[in-house]
Subunit: 416 residues, 2 copies
């Protein structure tokens, strides 16, 4: 802890009656989560009944008011900097904040305003590159510590609750291929391909040709090296370009975990890109974190972890398809699968915490722990959803007659 500047200057002053009352008020608004709050002078404030799920230690007096006023913004910041410590179940603790946060966000007029302002410039090309660079180019070594061997950084699909992470990511890729009805020899465009796991899977298992787009240089270089190593570089091309520059034609269009970075004002443009490249008998799949209703991303996550990101409401996702004139075939909410995915990421992350600390610093370790734990809480409590959406040209007839085929054969397990 002593490496953190905040912890080293821990406050000592007495707790005023006003501070105590404000804290008790916020705990009441949170409907008395079973927890203990330890204040900077050692005073303990208990809430709820039964065994406490966590102990929140506020080390620095100066953080109390920001924490009480905007926990969504300052809890993550205070925790990362060591001004707040959490002992116990951090995920269950954060789950208690989710409904409060959902309600509070609806009351904040500037967030409601921002939801409706057409911030067209926010994801212009240069900004998009810098946003993506911020998150995805911090080092493949870092992500390798806690993602699965294929480096799939999106929601996995668990055929059983007990399926492991690597198997669940394999199953997800197979599931996406089945939803897309890929046939050997077809061409696929992937928009936002990460480290290339899905593109390589489609080439390897479905015999399709893939053109995959991504503006993260580190990811593209890594993906190209993998394609060469596997001898798939004749079949899969990784292109360091934005989705807006896609001009290929294809039989299937797939985008897994990119829409969150597209920005609402660009959905029409994105739909037009898909319309431009998808052939007449084409199928498409969008996979994105989403919401039940429009709401900004958590302010701290948006500031610290994912600049420019916005998880759309399902109705907003449909705007992409309306712009392309497409017809929705199937929408599946995999919210609980994403909660499970991040649980497994967090377990692996904790096992590598020392290594992460050596690569970055304690503040980074804590910030990412808070982000991962907060994501689990958001998916568990239903603040975030995961929508997987399949579509076609209107009037398509050459479609699977039912969805039964998706579940007929066991999904394959990881070769590892």
């Amino acid at each position: 802890m002593t490496t953190l500047h905040e912890a080293s200057t821990a406050g000592t002053g007495r707790v005023t009656a006003l501070e105590r009352a404000a804290l008790r008020h916020v705990l009441a608004v949170l409907e008395q989560p079973p927890l203990e709050v330890v204040l900077w002078n050692g005073e303990v404030v208990r809430a709820g009944y039964g065994t406490a799920i966590a102990r929140v230690i506020i080390r620095r007096r100066g953080w109390l008011w920001p924490l009480l006023y905007r926990p969504d913004l300052y809890f993550g910041a205070a925790y990362s900097r060591g001004a707040v410590d959490i002992e116990g179940d951090i995920v269950r603790l954060l789950e208690y904040f989710e409904p409060l946060e959902r309600n509070a966000a609806r009351r904040r007029w500037w967030e409601r305003l921002k939801l409706h302002l057409p911030l067209r410039e926010s994801r212009a090309l240069a900004r998009a590159r810098s946003n993506i660079h911020h998150h995805y180019d911090i080092g493949n070594t870092f992500y390798r510590l806690w993602l699965d061997p294929e480096l799939v950084y999106t929601c996995a699909y668990f055929p059983e609750r007990t399926t492991g992470l690597a198997d669940a990511q394999q199953a997800k890729m197979e599931y996406v291929c089945r939803k897309l009805c890929l046939q050997p020899g077809e061409t696929v465009v992937e928009a936002g391909c990460g480290w290339g796991g899905l593109s390589l899977y489609m080439a390897r298992h479905c015999g399709v040709r893939v053109r995959a787009y991504n503006i993260s240089r580190e990811q593209v270089l890594y993906a190209r090296a993998r394609a060469r190593a596997e001898g798939l570089d004749g079949q899969v091309e990784f292109i360091e370009q934005d989705y807006r520059s896609i001009t290929d034609t294809c039989d299937a269009f797939v985008s897994v975990g990119m829409l969150e970075h597209v920005g609402k004002v660009h959905y029409g443009e994105f739909g037009a890109v898909i319309d431009r490249c998808l052939g007449p008998g084409g199928r498409g799949l969008l996979h994105s974190i989403g919401r039940d209703r429009p709401m900004l991303l958590n302010a701290w996550i948006e500031h610290q972890i994912f600049p420019g990101a916005y998880p759309p409401a399902l109705g907003e996702m449909l705007e992409v398809l309306a712009a392309g004139g497409f017809s929705v075939l199937d929408i599946e909410n995999l919210r609980l699968h994403y909660a499970r995915t991040v649980e497994l990421w967090l377990q692996r992350y904790e096992r590598s915490a020392d290594e992460v600390r050596r690569m970055f610093d304690e503040e980074f370790v804590r910030a990412w722990r808070f982000y991962l734990a907060g994501s689990i809480a958001a998916f568990r409590s239903g603040s975030l959803q995961l929508f997987q959406l399949t579509f076609s040209r209107p009037g398509a007839r050459d479609l699977p007659w039912t969805r039964a085929g998706l579940y007929q054969d066991r999904l394959p397990e990881s070769p590892a």
Copy 2:
């Protein structure tokens, strides 16, 4: 034909160059469907290439301009009254009109305006009753001629393309029960229950208690009699009331084929009704004809067959759920299943045409043929969709882990 007043006054005058040119222009706009048009004086105008799929005989000169100007409105009217005859494949003929109609509807300013006007009174209670009476109270004997034995007047679910109508309606009811995860002893509210088929199925096969609402008196009386005959009247109650008067609490809320009659301005109210009655662990299912994008119902159908009906775009359906604060779990587009359902209805209808003529008259026979054929064309060509949508309270965790269970056991067949 002589029973129809229009046919008896068939015109004879010559065809002017302007009439011929206008007809050729419309056939060109339709992209030259392979058909023959026979005019009142016997003159034949051919379009398209290859074998003609149908021959359209325009018997009355006075109908030409209305037909060319607004086929969506006057084709059905002219056909019903015998001013136009169709020989050949009426469904395939009407399929050619669908894309034209979709484009034309987007250009008609008054339709676009009507789409956005909050016509709040249009489905007020008295009007709703009269609209429903118009369609559903024309006689159970009539519907018994061509529906399945359970009188299910909504899209069936065909586990195989070759499944028969009665089996497919049984399969649909089982499929809906599986999607709702019904458990014995639970309570279900059904809004818009038709002749009671689904309510009785749920009581019989899932051991649930059902309260089912409907404002069609004929249907309610019929459903009550069936419940008594089966000894299920202690378990299923049929209530002749509007969905707005529902005050029960329930574990599952289901509405199959009612949303089309609710009217867009009442979606918020409908969502609030579901919110009021669904318990905390509750599940819901909405099943409705829909659209890829907002568009009025075909003018002739709305006027002649379904007054006040409006098939919502998927985004509009989501407004119902947003109003109740629900979370979408699953959306399935069963468009091709509805095309197949109506194909089987039309086959049965044609076999009973003589009986229908005795019950009503030739104009009625032809109007309903045109309506059924037009519906097949609309579903085949993608003008209409069928969305089956499952939802829960936000943050629900006690959900099926995957959708595989829906397809695990064979769906049951009709006992008949």
